[in-house]
């Protein structure tokens, strides 16, 4: 059974249609990458899946349940959401920010889980440091730890690698991969097609709010899609850590 299913979802933000008949599923143990150019609808899919974007028509389900019928707490128990926004309003210590991922645990239990999550993302040494004094990469790790504090069966991550150095990008995706190995379903939006091909079980390509391809990474990101959606003339070659995209812009 799918942890998440979107069925013919249409949605607008203001007057602009951002999703136009999107259908996809995410199952337990699966990493699904959402790829597409800016404005393709990747964030909108994730926000709709999190219940944060009002759906005009179609259905969003978590398991058997329509997301609109679940209470905020029921949703939070079933999914963890890592937003694209990385601004943290106040200079809280990293451990307190991480503990925000477990608002229904008692104070000490939440802090213990938060420390474990920080260790898991390689940020254990940052636990007592204020987030305003951190680099963007360090803050990204702290926010990832917040999303991993609870063992929600579904993890939604909106461009978690944006603005990070290559090492930090891999660390983030390895954490998501590890979560999927622990039977969670992961839906992640990514701009880096090589990373998507290396880490995802399936890639969903979006363009103009519609799904263009939904298949295994190299099938979904085959030459016609690369050309049509991304304006790239490219081929996949075998690299040491998985497939690498060699591409140039279509003239």
């Amino acid at each position: 059974m799918s942890l998440l299913s979107l069925n013919a979802v249409r949605a607008r933000i203001g007057r602009e249609r951002v999703l136009d008949g999107v259908s996809l599923t995410v199952s337990a143990g699966e990493v699904v990458a959402l790829c597409g150019p800016n404005g393709a609808g990747k964030s909108s899919v994730i926000r709709a899946a999190a219940g944060l974007l009002a759906v005009e028509s179609g259905r969003v389900r978590l398991g058997d349940d329509d997301i609109s019928r679940l209470s905020p707490r029921q949703r939070a128990e079933r999914l963890s959401y890592l937003p694209q926004e990385r601004r943290i309003a106040w200079n809280l210590p990293a451990v307190e920010v991480s503990a925000l991922g477990a608002p229904f645990l008692a104070g000490e239990a939440a802090l213990d889980r938060a420390k474990e999550a920080l260790l898991a993302v390689g940020a254990g040494h940052l636990a007592d440091r204020g987030v305003a004094e951190m680099s963007g990469g360090e803050r990204a790790r702290v926010l990832l730890a917040r999303a991993l504090v609870v063992d929600a069966p579904l993890l939604l991550a909106d461009e978690p690698t944006a603005g990070l150095d290559p090492d930090a990008q891999r660390l983030v995706l390895e954490q998501l991969r590890a979560r999927s190995r622990a039977a969670a379903g992961v839906l992640v939006s990514l701009h880096d097609l090589t990373l998507a091909a290396a880490f995802a079980d399936r890639v969903v390509v979006l363009d103009g709010g519609r799904i263009v391809a939904d298949a295994a990474p190299l099938d979904a990101l085959a030459q016609p899609v690369l050309r049509q959606v991304f304006g790239l003339d490219g081929t996949w070659i075998e690299g040491p850590d998985g497939p690498l995209l060699a591409a140039r812009r279509v003239q």
């Binding site: 707490r73 963890s80 106040w90 925000l100």
Partner: protein, 329 residues
Amino acid sequence: MSRTVRLCLILGLVIVAALAAAVMIGETGFDGAQYAAAFSDPTSGPWEVLWQVRAPRAVCALMVGAALGLAGAVMQGLLRNPLADPGVLGVSATAALGAALAIVLGGAGVTGVVEMSALVGAAAAGGLLIAASGLMRAPEALILFGVALSSFAGAATALIFNLSPSPIAQAEVMSWLLGSVQNRSWVDVAWVTPAVVVAAVFAGLSAGGLRMLTLGDEGAAASGLSMGRVRAFALIAAAVATGAAVAVAGVIGFVGLAAPHLVRAAVRGDPGRILAPSALAGGLMLVVADLLARLTPTDQELKLGVFTALIGAPLFALIAWRAAREWRL
């Protein structure tokens, strides 16, 4: 003992000392025998001065300051903005409009009418803000709505002042707008205290949500907390606290802005844990400011609102300068 509890205990002890100073020190000096009478003879003049004039005034300043400090902390947490205070969202101005309207319509002669009008004004502002917060999720949009509300209420108050035929009513409105706890009695304390308790309960109910808003609207919305309820509770707390403060003491600026900043570092920036220390710091600030205003040798006693604004305006500039450097706004 947690850091926050320790901070509250320290602030509580300093408040007790400040209240004692505010009761014992004043323009009228007493000798040892008179102080002895003040503690033993309820029919004596010194007893009257200490317990019927200075003590209710000091406690009133404490409660008003606590209300403003609490409202400031709630608003800064809700709007995720270190420069927010009860005046920003227009609650103070709308409460003052309610009071001004009651004064020019002759309500000043009837006990409680002006105070109730100020509370109604604050409640109206609170209701409008709750409705607006449902429509505009972005804190910037809510701030702009509050600025518009504040400007409108200020203009309406000025219009009332302008059109009032009675110079006495005009003077009363002006006195209200300047803010003071002069001549406040235990009746005023009895007015403001329950409102502060109600505001504190609603603020406490919103504390977890204010902490979650640290992550932004979307992060908070996906946290499992009902953010609509958090926003409503926070705005009710801010409106009730500000309305009660304006009802009893008129418009007193900058306490709501400054109090949270005095204790923010001690609670490591936590917008939920800052609420109680901020209320205590606000109360302490106003007790001390009122004592200083009383003791400043001027022909006419300095109005408390003027005094806090004189100190608060440079403080505001300092906070803005530090905020620009530290908070990556």
